[in-house]
Symmetry: C2
Subunit: 136 residues, 2 copies
Amino acid sequence: MISIRIKQSEHKLREIGVSPSHSRMKIVSYLIGNKNHPTVDEIYSALKPSMPTLSKTTVYSTVKLLVDKGFLLPLFIDENEVRYDPDVSVHAHFKCRKCGDLHDVQASVQKIYNKEGHLIENTHIYFTGICFHCKK
Amino acid sequence: MISIRIKQSEHKLREIGVSPSHSRMKIVSYLIGNKNHPTVDEIYSALKPSMPTLSKTTVYSTVKLLVDKGFLLPLFIDENEVRYDPDVSVHAHFKCRKCGDLHDVQASVQKIYNKEGHLIENTHIYFTGICFHCKK
DNA sequence: GTATCTGCAAAACATTTGCAATTCT
DNA sequence: AGAATTGCAAATGTTTTGCAGATAC
């Protein structure tokens, strides 16, 4: 299971022109295998036990590289917290203000009154509220 | 002109139940009079010349108070940068990746596929790209 | 053997906090 | 005087940077 993901990660990294080092493969592997839109700290904490020499510097530099290559989408939804999403397709997010979890949601923008004529390259939509789980 | 805004600010502050101190009136006044969605640092830098004893701590505590009272909307659009919008009505933003300016835009969400049934309280929409001015 | 990658420590920022000084009524 | 407001300095937390050591091809 994990080895499949590692293979997948190696492929992905080569595809975007990044040499597949051990750390990078593990980080990409973690990102692919988790739908939790992790922060740098969460990636680090999750991998540290199995990679005792891992440093946050490496996680920072890897996510930066992956964002630059278009493989990762950085999400600025809450103050002082950048989350990373390996799904770069157009979609929206929902952030629960109780548990803090971030979920994927499908949504699209209806109309834009862009009378000044700005060149729009990306659309970001997110919702905040109480998630299904915390509502109960 | 400025004195009118100061009067307006005083009124606004009383309205939301905050005592209108000198610093607060000047800060609200600046926010009302500028459409630039300033950061704390920008508010501070703009007011410092005319208020030599002003400290950033005061700006931080004032914007926090105003956010709590619902008068200011904090915007998390770029990493490491919180901007404040005195227009708390529903609207979207456009952030230019060249000049960094943040403009107001009208837009709304078309559909949401919220099959998990999260309770949505707020909707945030912003666009990124090149603004009208930088495009030329 | 040379490039790249990694990790430590320090630096750079933004924000918060504790507390003392000031201001306001 | 008493309560609220302000400002300084230190603390906190996150991200970046410089550089030296490790690793890979």
